[in-house]
């Protein structure tokens, strides 16, 4: 449609900037400028072997934070794109579903830092003489910490689109393309936003861990908060660590305020119904955006283009009808079994190949040893999850049943979960060395340092959602003490607890790689376990051992998931759901 002359638009009161614009528009220009500046720094020339300038001067930290945050943003964008393509294919194309979902399942259990050591050489070769290769490797590591979760979330949502809405979209002539953008994706938005938020909060850990990369004996340190911390550790500079902690906190806060608050508040409109008593999320930034007049004008064009884009590819019409049935392609009867055979054969061949490779390069005796390491790490993870549960469940319930406290503390717990716990490792090293503690035992708590908060805030959420009538009923029945916990509270919060424990357990496995081998200056502490095995192999650039370690960890995580978590999860979903 033809646009009216520009001057007329600006003169009309509809588009005249208001007070909200005064706050919003500068903010947006500031963000865009930072984005452009940070982005340009990512593609500077670089040769492996040269040391990038890095200093412990706290004045540099804002710049480092910008670089780290940009990496996070890039990874997030990639994850989103990946999710849209991968999950949609898996949900829509039946034969592909059989491959894509198991692959996703495996990818999810591969330790994230394992990806880094394997892929970094490839990325460097991709952009010779440019920093972009290393940047890509770091971004890829962060990507792997986010993408699988998000893809699973979208896939799950696409499976559960209400049938009556699908029928309505057909009766009202939406094409599959239009249906995806108008129905299926909006339906998935709340779950996707929540998962993205969780993924990003886990992502900070990997931002810190992935910036200092060692490739075949070479240490590459990308400018960023993570490298700053690595340098500070090597330098034994406690003050610098303190500054770094403050910077990361600021980063988490900025992401939360500028990105996730508005997103969560916005995603609320995609929810089907309000739960009674549910709090409607709010965000000052979203409010600003919705009230600013000139900003509304600025986004009118993009939003119209978006409407155009989602309206593309209408249904083909045949006379009065939209063809829906008629000759559809149905694969012949032999197709399914044949396809299954092909898939099984491929999986079998891959397995044999890996076994042969491992056998040829490290020998079977080592495989046995690594399995034992795996058991050691399993023991650590189990004991720690149990310990954390014993500590945090009662505390979480106490907080959750007090609404006013819960509201404040839940945000804090969520914040703590995002805080990269590896920043605290140096303190642990000093303590262990100082008190001559057993390394195998006392490095273990590091694994759960960052992930225990998932248990806490899920329990808080579960406890604060306890229906008042159940609480009243428990009160009138005189349930007290252990009986009250056994019959009422524990079963009622079980589903939320399980959600938290699954996340915490997955995170702990990942963290084992950095927490079983920790250092402070020249002091290095090593606990016996699968994590330290992988960490050492990575430092040595020993590919067969990296592969073996990762494969074994993958095996353990999958077994853990199948045998324990998935069953508990089904139990929770089936039997103990309130409502």
């Amino acid at each position: 449609m033809p646009l009216p002359p520009t001057r007329a638009i600006f003169a009309s009161p509809e588009f005249r900037p208001n007070a909200w614009d005064a706050a919003l528009v500068p903010l947006i220009f500031l963000l865009l400028t930072l984005l452009a500046y940070g982005g340009s720094q990512m593609t500077t020339p670089y040769d492996v072997g040269t040391q990038l300038p890095l200093s412990l001067d706290p004045a540099n930290l804002p710049y480092y934070l910008l670089r780290s945050a940009l990496r996070m943003a890039a990874a997030l964008a990639c994850s989103l794109l990946f999710t849209l393509v991968y999950a949609t294919l898996a949900a829509k194309v039946k034969p592909l579903e059989k491959i894509l979902i198991p692959i996703l399942d495996i990818l999810q259990s591969i330790p994230i830092l394992g990806f880094l050591s394997i892929t970094v050489t490839g990325f460097i070769a991709l952009f010779p003489g440019n920093l972009l290769g290393v940047e890509c490797a770091a971004i890829f590591a962060i990507f792997t910490s986010q993408a699988w979760n998000m893809a699973f979330s979208l896939y799950g949502s696409l499976q559960t689109v209400p049938n009556d809405l699908i029928e309505a979209s057909k009766v009202f002539h939406l094409s599959p393309w239009q249906r995806f953008w108008r129905l299926e994706l909006p339906w998935a938005v709340p779950g996707l936003v929540w998962n993205t938020m969780m993924s990003v909060s886990g992502g900070w850990f990997f931002v810190v861990a992935s910036e200092a990369i060692s490739v075949s004996g070479q240490n590459i340190m990308l400018p960023g908060v993570g490298s700053y911390i690595a340098l500070a550790i090597a330098d034994k500079n406690l003050g610098a660590i303190g500054w770094a902690i403050l910077t990361v906190l600021a980063g988490i806060l900025i992401y939360d305020q500028l990105m996730f608050r508005p997103l969560v508040a916005w995603a609320d409109k995609f929810k089907f119904d309000y739960m009674p008593g549910e709090q409607i999320p709010e965000s000052w930034l979203l409010t600003l955006m919705q009230r600013a007049r000139f900003f509304g004008f600025l986004v009118a064009l993009p939003s119209r283009l978006w409407d155009r884009f989602t309206g593309l590819i209408p249904r083909r019409r045949e006379g009065m009808f939209i063809r829906l049935h008629g000759p559809v392609f149905t694969p012949p009867a032999w197709f399914d079994p044949a396809w299954n055979t092909v898939l099984l054969a491929a999986a079998g061949i891959a397995l044999v190949k890996v076994a042969l490779f491992v056998h040829a390069s490290v020998g079977m005796a080592e495989v046995g040893r690594v399995l034992l390491y795996g058991l050691a790490t399993t023991l650590r993870v189990s004991v720690l999850i149990a310990l954390a549960s014993v500590i945090w469940v009662p505390i979480g319930v106490w907080i959750g049943t007090r609404p006013r406290i819960a509201q404040n503390l839940q945000a804090v717990a969520q914040f703590l979960a995002a805080f990269p716990a590896n920043l605290m490792f140096p303190v642990a090293v000093m303590l262990i060395v100082h008190f001559h503690l057993n390394v195998d035992v006392w490095t273990s708590p590091l694994m759960i340092l960052g992930t225990q908060w998932y248990i806490l805030f899920n329990v808080i959420a579960g406890a604060s959602a306890l229906p008042q009538d159940l609480k009243d009923a428990a009160g009138t029945l005189g349930l007290k003490g252990w009986l009250r916990w056994k019959r009422f509270i524990l079963p009622a919060i079980f589903p939320s607890y399980i959600t938290g424990a699954i996340t915490a357990s997955g995170g702990s496995w990942n963290a084992s790689i950095v927490s079983e081998l920790v250092s402070w200056g020249n002091t290095q502490l090593e606990a016996v376990g699968l994590g330290s095995y992988i960490a050492k192999a990575t430092a040595d650039g020993d590919f067969p051992r990296i592969a073996l370690g990762i494969a074994v960890m993958c095996l353990f995580v999958m077994a853990f998931n199948r045998l324990l978590w998935r069953r508990l999860y089904t139990l929770a979903a089936d039997r103990l759901r309130l409502s």
Binding site: M1, P162, D164, L165, E167, A168, K170, V171, F172, H173, L174, S175, Q178, R182, L183, P186, V189, K269, F270, K271, F272, D273, Y274, G311, P314, R315, R317, E318, G319, M320, F321, I322, R323, L324, H325, G326, R575
Partner: protein
């Protein structure tokens, strides 16, 4: 009033010998619709009445072009139906509104998909919203609206397409009585004053009064497989007075036909199999309905509409209860009336324990699935069997959902009769506990199929 008696020319919708089968998981065919003939002429409102699960919703979806028929012919304005047609709109029982779109955007959606220009879209949506009495709420989201207003959006969304034919899939059944009455009256007013371009309306319902108050013709649908069993013209001028004698008479007639179809369906059914679709009726309700019929004013024989009023049960659950009573042999249905059988009377007069015993006897005799479950449990060494076993057997006859529902009902009947028990967590069926205790000493010897217990509960000769 009927818009037009000019039923000549091409019918809006014309169905001949329509058949629909679904495939069960083990690739057996299950027939949902068989030989359905139906014609929607210009100017009429037709109601399709039937019990839930009788396939009337499936038929509606075939007419909407959402699913293809397996046999027979489906024509819209003389052309074979190959998908959703431009002139056909639908209103859903669950409203099916997009929660992230405002009222205005919801109404515009169909026009947008057709590529109607923005300005025209807005104008037409405004018009439809005003017509249905929602002006002022254009910017509201569905979750801000009450149920009745949400369904108004559903109607506006259908009307904005200027449809020839409106298919209404139980549009009022999710609303309370008062709201649904108002909405119905508003729709009929638009129709009778010809303020909407729609030329024919098909209403699927299980509420008899609703059908009689709206339709020019009522088709009674029977189940297993679904087919049109009877047709009743309603020649009353609208608006109709539900208290008038003529109205009551038609309601009576429809009740008679609905129950006749129940009886005829059973007569047609050869000896019942375990795949018999046990009606959705809880034992407690069965007992209280029997009591109601036995007591004054009915004294063992009740006129169905009067009974419906006395029990305040919705038609759908009432028909399930009737079917349960009939299947169990506690009552018979004839000419729109329900009679208690001698065992029905015996049940009402009995004390609680005795009632359970009578119920158990009838259950074993009349419901093959119950007898089958009991036999399997008796034969098994631990007197336990997984529910999946029975579900799989049922899936040879029924869809997955239906199989689950039937098993759930038979479990509740079996529990009430103390014939068998069920462990929800383990998903296992088993003999009731106290009986197990009796058997404790005999646990080591495997029991033969002809255990004495089966004699205990076998029916006395009648």
């Amino acid at each position: 009033m009927n818009h037009a008696a000019n039923g000549s020319g091409i019918a809006l919708l014309d169905l001949k010998g329509v058949k629909k089968t679904f495939r069960t998981p083990d690739r057996k065919e299950r027939t949902v619709l068989e030989g359905v003939d139906f014609r929607l002429a210009e100017g009429e409102i037709v109601a399709l009445l039937g019990k839930s699960g009788s396939g009337k919703s499936t038929l509606l979806r075939i007419m909407a072009g959402l699913i293809p028929a397996n046999g027979g012919q489906v024509l819209y304005r003389g052309q074979p139906m190959i998908g959703p047609a431009r002139g056909i709109s639908m209103v859903f029982q669950s409203f099916a509104l997009f929660p992230w779109l405002t009222v205005q955007e919801n109404v515009e959606l169909g026009l947008e998909a057709l590529g109607v220009h923005r300005d025209e879209r807005e104008d037409r949506a405004k018009e439809a919203i005003e017509l249905i009495g929602l002006d002022g709420f254009e910017g509201a989201y569905p979750k801000e609206l009450s149920g009745g207003m949400r369904q108004r959006v559903g109607f506006a969304r259908a009307l904005v397409m200027r449809p020839d034919v409106m298919l209404l899939d139980e549009p009022f059944s999710a609303l309370d009585v008062l709201t649904s009455e108002t909405l119905r009256a508003d729709l009929l007013e638009l129709w009778d004053e010809r303020r909407i371009p729609t030329k024919g309306i098909l209403l699927v319902s299980h509420n008899i009064e609703e059908a009689v108050s709206m339709a020019d013709r009522i088709l009674v649908f029977s189940s297993d497989p679904g087919r049109v069993r009877a047709e009743i013209p309603v020649g009353l001028p609208r608006p109709r007075d539900p208290e008038s004698a003529a109205f009551r008479q038609i309601v009576d007639e429809v009740y008679g036909l609905m129950t006749a179809s129940v009886r005829a369906g059973a007569a047609a059914a050869e000896p019942m199999t375990i795949g018999y679709r046990i009606p959705d009726a809880q034992p407690g309700k069965i007992a209280s309905l029997l009591e109601t019929v036995a007591e004054p004013p009915f004294n063992g024989r009740a006129d169905l509409p009067a009974l419906a009023e006395a029990t305040e049960l919705p038609d759908d659950s009432l028909f399930h209860l009737f079917e349960a009573l009939r299947a169990l042999g506690f009552a018979r249905l004839a000419a729109g009336d329900i009679f208690l059988t001698p065992s029905g009377h015996a049940f009402v007069e009995a004390e609680n324990d005795q009632r359970k015993q009578i119920f158990a006897e009838h259950l074993l005799r009349s419901i093959p699935l119950a007898a089958h479950i009991r036999r399997v449990l008796d034969e098994r060494r631990g007197h336990r069997a997984p529910e999946d076993r029975f579900l799989q057997e049922l899936q040879d006859y029924l869809t997955d959902d239906e199989a689950e529902r039937v098993l759930e009902v038979v479990i509740s009947w079996g529990r009430y009769a103390e014939l068998f028990d069920y462990d929800y967590n383990a998903g296992m069926l088993m003999l009731p506990e106290d009986e197990d205790d009796d058997e404790e000493d005999g646990e080591d010897t495997p029991r033969s199929a002809e255990s004495p217990r089966r004699e205990d509960v076998s029916p006395p000769a009648e």
